[in-house]
Amino acid sequence: MSWCELPGYWLGLEVLERYGCRMADGLVITMQLVAISSLLGFFLAVGLALLRLRGPRPVRWAIAGYTTFFRGTPLLCQLFLIYYGLGTFRLFWQDVGLWWFFRDPLYCCLLAFTINTAAYQAEILRGSLQALPKGQIEAARALGMRPVAIFIKVEMPQALIIGLRPLGNELITMIKVSAIASLVTLFDLMGATRLAFARSFDLSIYLVAALIYLALVEIVRRIWNQMEARLTRHMVLR
């Protein structure tokens, strides 16, 4: 008996025992999807937020349009447009050598999730950067620091502290919405659960999945609270 069958065995839940390993595999895929897209989305968002604030005017408008659009429409619809919509241009993708990417639902999900979370994270970072007192930058300039150094060493660290909580909430949202990956044939945690339900018609498997998602979200929340406490320890009055 492998380890992933044990929880079902202990709980006396036959479905969970039978599909426990599938769900464990699904959990790994869910975590990969969330981690990769959130991280890529973050780097994209830093650039977007910066250009949104300091780029030339047309660029600023374009980025404002991008964030408004992707935050104003459902991720499910964006995912279907990428998976089914872009999937129909197979000959074009083959010409440019990108068919391997659009053929795979995992990459399509990663693309959709990254684009979407980047829009949200960019808005969070923009707000945090704008919230910084002007004196910070002026002081850094007075010290003779170059703009890049100011951004990396002065602005970003402080903006990240301000944006920490909303960024954590965005990560939690991503964990939850990643469940729609199962609708484009992926066996993520939700996909494995749907499979188990379709075979057994035992509703308890959905409740188990709910508990796993809940645990995942709770862990992220705890880590975030720890991180916030640590990063803001110099700001707390003792």
């Binding site: 408004t68 104003g72 429409t73 447009l81 241009f89 469940a179 709910a210 809940l214 979200v217 709770e218």
Partner: protein
């Protein structure tokens, strides 16, 4: 281009009229969910301020659960589980026959439960912003607790809560796209059907995105108007 216009036209050839019907369903689900979710959210918010540890503990548990579980999963649990639960209750009460939970009702309940969890946070914040003196003043005027809430606290509450609730509404509007998986004929469902029957997913999912975008811009505008209106007493 002509092909696109034909596909999106009204009538037998195109899917324009079907998409608009889908839009009506999307809006109906969202509008039906709103009062249920917001009222429940306010009750949860009041519960979380209760002096009884049991009641406030329940409120915390409620928000933790419905904020942490994927909406899609909540939807499935309500749709499949709700049916079984309702039937058990119905037979348990000694009634014959069957009661069934429609996809619309299931969608409304599931989205409403989630909305309640998120909106309760907004309500809590707004409740905290209202000074105790307001309630004391109301009591001094001889208003009952209910009257004080309805006439004094609630109007002020709305003003503070509106931006947050507006945000909740925008999220809700997007989440309605999930009800397509329980065969409710909303925008997403129609776009999927159209994709399957015409093999033109790019056109139809783009059209669906455009519809959602239109509704969210419209909502943003409407919410802005409401905020100005509610704030008019505070503008100098």
């Amino acid at each position: 281009m002509e092909k696109v216009l034909t596909l999106l036209s009204f009538g037998d050839q195109g899917w324009g009229d079907e998409l608009l019907q889908g839009a009506m369903v999307t809006i109906s689900v969202a509008l039906a969910t709103l009062p249920f979710g917001l009222t429940l959210g306010l009750l949860i918010a009041l519960a979380s301020r209760s002096k009884s540890r049991w009641i406030s503990g329940f409120a915390t548990l409620y928000t933790t659960v419905f904020r942490g579980v994927p909406e899609l999963l909540t939807l499935y649990i309500i749709y499949f589980g709700g049916q079984i639960l309702i039937q058990r209750l119905w037979s348990g009460l000694g009634f014959e026959g069957s009661l069934s939970i429609s996809p619309f009702l299931a969608g409304m309940v599931a989205l409403g439960l989630v909305l309640a969890a998120f909106s309760s946070e907004v309500w809590v914040g707004a409740l905290n912003s209202i000074h105790i003196g307001q309630r004391e003043g109301a009591a001094a005027l001889g208003l009952s607790r209910g009257q004080a809430f309805r006439l004094v606290v609630f109007p002020q509450l709305m003003r503070v809560a509106l931006p947050g609730l507006g945000n909740n509404w925008m999220v809700l509007l997007k989440e309605t796209s999930l009800v397509s998986v329980i065969t409710l004929h909303d925008i997403m469902f129609i776009a999927t059907r159209a994709n399957v029957s015409t093999k033109e997913p790019f056109i139809f999912f783009s059209a669906a995105l455009a519809l959602y975008f239109f509704f969210s811009l419209l909502s943003a505008w409407g919410i802005g108007r409401m905020e100005t209106r509610l704030n008019r007493g505070y503008v100098r």
